[in-house]
């Protein structure tokens, strides 16, 4: 590999925005046939670097070199014509159009008078799809495909040109494990064809599974490149945050209180069936399972967003029916939703108003809001949760992910709920803030809150939970205590393996 010329090289890239040095002399090289991971916390400069590479931003200094030819990128389309292709985390597909039309969007083969040459279009598309070994054809409507298959369409789009380097930006964010396997196959195919790959991800297991080298950015500057097989997660994390991340087990040392919430035989359509569990005051109950296992749906049912068709919910020993989020809130159940920006926050509003949103009516005198009381609450929880913002007037959309999440948590804490459900507590949050959120969850349990944590990250569930409910395709497979759980047994449970063992 060493005697080859790099497929793509970035040299001393500097990019400054007013007041910020977003990239400070970053260099990176990708060999043909190499999978090169780019890692760093949110805000470390990964996206800016990719925007420079895609010609969306022009670098102040430094250059982009494609196969030893210095190149100026002016737009993603132009970058593509030079063989640099991006596969974004967020899909940008026209859902009503066919796979073929999406792949050749803007470049449809033509016949006379601007008519589309459908025959050529479908033939070319099917040739590409065959390479990817996917289960759909050129005429399939994109909207009918699963997210994973839509991502394949994005990848297919990348393959219409002779790609020299392909950049994957968090490609597995919305994929199931089975779908990930297919994606990794495609990546290794590309690899064997001599394409250089930049792989951006937060997920360590993936990084260690598929990459050859790992480059780390921190605060806009290059922190080093590691050979994947000669390093480990701790070393990478240390490079990323400048210190080690604590993910040790963490069972409560304090006494648990009464059962705050008990669920018996809860079912909801095809989402989940016959789910039973209980959570005590002072306890963190983790829910772990694959995407589609029904974890989030249980949380949504408890919060009144879905109607169960069987089963009972008991709060403090009394049976309750929860008809709406408003109802859930008044009964003392709160939900920190999975999608912070889409479901948890009003991004255009300021920090204080977001924090007091559910109780603005309770705080008011008659129909009039009470800004003074609201500001007091904000100040109190800003200090308590160490929320870093210049003041309550700051628009929530401008805060970092970790601080946004703290606002959502504070929103419920200030109402002293009986049960706090946190769905994906650290999704899209950088490593440093992650441990803060984890500590916060542990601390809340210690203060006597009953906390339910739903997560798709195993280290996280293991780290924060006292007990873990393992789910597989809508059913509870097993509930582990933190003493007995092992990574292996947990993986088996969520893959549906222990089920048969248990019965037998």
């Amino acid at each position: 590999m060493t005697d080859q010329t790099p497929a793509l090289r970035l040299e001393g890239i500097v990019k400054t925005f007013p007041g910020v040095r977003a990239l400070d002399g970053v260099s990176l090289s990708v060999m043909p046939g190499e999978v090169h991971a780019l890692m760093g916390e949110n805000g470390a400069g990964k996206s800016t670097l990719m925007k420079v590479l895609g010609g969306i931003h022009q670098p102040d200094e430094g250059q982009i070199i494609v196969e030893e030819v210095p190149t100026v990128m002016t737009s993603p389309l132009q970058a593509k014509s030079k063989g640099i292709v991006f596969i974004h985390q967020e899909l940008s597909l026209a859902e009503e159009l066919s796979v073929a039309e999406n792949i050749y969007l803007g470049e449809l083969p033509r016949r006379s008078f601007g008519r589309v040459d459908w025959a050529t279009l479908y033939a070319r598309t099917d040739a590409i799809l065959e390479k990817l070994k996917v289960g759909f054809n050129a005429k399939t409507i994109v909207g009918d495909l699963s997210i994973a298959n839509q991502q394949m369409v994005e990848i297919a789009r990348a393959l219409t040109v002779e790609a020299k380097a392909v950049i994957f930006d968090e490609p597995t964010a919305s994929l199931t494990d089975a779908e990930k396997v297919v994606l990794f196959d495609v990546i290794s195919d590309l690899q064997s064809q001599g394409v250089g790959i930049i792989y951006i991800s937060h997920r360590m297991e993936e990084i260690f599974k598929i990459t050859d080298r790992i480059s780390v950015l921190r605060d806009g500057s290059y922190r080093g490149t590691l050979e994947t097989r000669n390093t480990n997660e701790e070393e990478v994390t240390q490079l990323m945050i400048g210190r080690a991340l604590d993910l040790s087990r963490n069972a409560s040392s304090h006494e648990l209180g009464d059962v705050a919430l008990e669920v018996r035989g809860l079912s909801c359509g095809n989402m989940f069936k016959d789910v039973s569990f209980e959570v005590r005051r002072g306890e963190v109950l983790g829910f772990y399972g694959l995407v589609g296992a029904g974890r989030t749906e249980i949380a949504e049912t408890l919060f009144g967003l879905r109607d169960p068709n069987a089963g009972t919910i008991l709060l403090d020993g009394e049976e309750v029916r929860i008809s709406s989020p408003a109802d859930a809130i008044s009964k003392g159940i709160s939900l920190v939703p999975e999608d912070r920006k889409g479901q948890g926050l009003v991004l255009g509003m300021n920090c204080r108003d977001n924090m007091t949103l559910p109780q603005v009516g309770d705080l008011s005198s008659g129909p009039f809001v009470a800004p003074g009381t609201e500001t007091d609450i904000f100040d109190k929880y800003k200090e308590k949760l160490d929320i870093r913002t210049p003041g309550w007037k700051q628009t929530v959309g401008n805060l970092s992910g970790g601080n946004q999440q703290k606002i959502v948590i504070a929103k419920w804490l200030s109402m002293h709920p009986k049960v706090l459900i946190v769905d994906e507590p650290t999704r899209g949050i950088d490593v440093g803030s992650k441990s803060e959120i984890h500590n916060l969850i542990r601390e809340l349990a210690a203060q006597g809150y009953a906390v339910i944590v739903v997560s798709s990250e195993m280290p996280e569930v293991l780290h924060v939970s006292d007990r873990i409910v393992a789910m597989f395709s809508g059913r509870v497979m097993r509930t582990f205590t933190s003493e007995e759980v092992t990574e292996e047994s947990l993986i088996q449970a969520i893959s549906g393996i222990t089920a048969t063992d248990k019965v037998a």
Partner: protein, 333 residues
């Protein structure tokens, strides 16, 4: 000054800057082009301008709430007309014959009730069916207008009550009755949007409906109330206007919805909801009225006025995009 404050100031103050520009432009241009020898910024002329702003302005306040809340109401012109018909016709109903001038508050009440009921119909449909407000109110715009025609065919409904006319033409502290109504409505709605729970929730619902639901806000009832508010204001606008004119044509109020929306958008309220300001809407209303009056002052005819307002609307929104950093990051098309 903090970073971003200047652009924010420009954005929020832009409409008032535009008004100042209009005043100066028409005053200067009027010197050369006007047929009358009266100055554009003559006190009487300006007072009249405020009065003429009232019908659109009163409705625009309601539209601002509706749009902040993430909806739209296209039926305001039809509600305006139907409320006017009820106002004028009810004064002649035989059951009220013995009331003398006391028929006035009764008819006012009936007209306002009409507006509230029609608004509630819109709101209930939007809430209970989940159909987009644009479609629902497009339908009710046609439907309510149909009711106006059913009432009296193609004929105008007329009833001139001189007590009422005297009231409508009165001036208190220099301002006309209609101007006072606009001022009070503006203040009340401003207060509602900035100081009440209902206002706060309206912003939240418009900005992120799902997050609002998750915060336990009852989105449906809020929308219903807002549609009732705009129905009430459309009727109030009719009450103020027809108390003076005393005659309503079945086609009156047509295109009002578009003038109202234009004023609201000029004032910086986002079509997608979640952001907007009552005071800027007032600016938008005045800017449009100034433009109509100013162009008339320098001798332009109605068609020219419409062309210019259309161009300015697009120019202002383009400017807004340029000032707005988010606009810069959007994809080039």
């Amino acid at each position: 000054m903090e970073a971003g404050k200047l652009s924010k100031f420009l954005k929020n103050g832009a409409i008032w800057g535009f008004i100042v520009f209009e005043l100066i432009f028409f005053s200067v241009a009027g010197q050369f082009l006007s047929l009358s020898d009266k100055a554009f910024m003559d006190v009487d002329n300006m007072l009249l301008l405020l009065k003429q702003s009232a019908p659109i302005g009163i409705i625009a306040m309601g539209m601002t709430i509706i749009m902040i809340n993430g909806n739209i109401d296209l039926s305001v012109g039809a509600i305006f007309a139907l409320s006017a018909v009820i106002l004028l016709d009810s004064m002649t109903w035989t059951i009220f014959a013995g009331l003398g001038d006391w028929v006035i508050p009764v008819s006012w009440g009936l007209a306002l009730l009409t507006g509230v009921v029609l608004g509630a119909i819109n709101g209930l449909i939007v809430w209970k069916t989940g159909v987009d407000a644009f479609i629902v109110t497009l339908g009710s715009m046609l439907g309510f207008r149909g009711l106006v025609f059913m009432y009296n065919g193609e004929n105008p409904t007329s009833n001139l009550n001189w007590t009422l006319v005297d009231f409508a033409e009165a001036q208190f502290l220099g301002l006309h009755t209609a101007t006072w109504f606009l001022a009070v409505v503006t203040f009340v709605i401003w207060y509602v949007m900035t100081r009440t729970v209902h206002g706060r929730n309206a912003y939240a619902i418009g900005d992120n409906r799902e997050a609002a639901v998750n915060a336990g806000i009852k989105v449906g009832p809020h929308m219903l109330i807002n549609f009732m508010i705009i129905g009430f204001l459309a009727a109030l606008s009719a009450v103020v206007f027809y108390s003076e004119s005393g005659s309503v044509n079945p086609n009156d109020g047509q295109l009002y919805e578009l003038w109202v929306i234009t004023a609201v958008v000029l004032g910086g309220t986002k079509l997608t909801g979640g952001a907007g300001s009552i005071l800027s809407t007032l600016g938008g209303v005045l800017a449009i009225q100034l433009l109509r009056k100013g162009l008339g002052h320098i001798g332009a005819d109605t068609s020219t006025v419409n062309l210019v307002i259309g161009l300015i609307l697009i120019a202002v929104l383009f400017l807004d995009r340029q000032l707005n950093t988010k606009g810069k990051e959007e994809l080039k098309i």
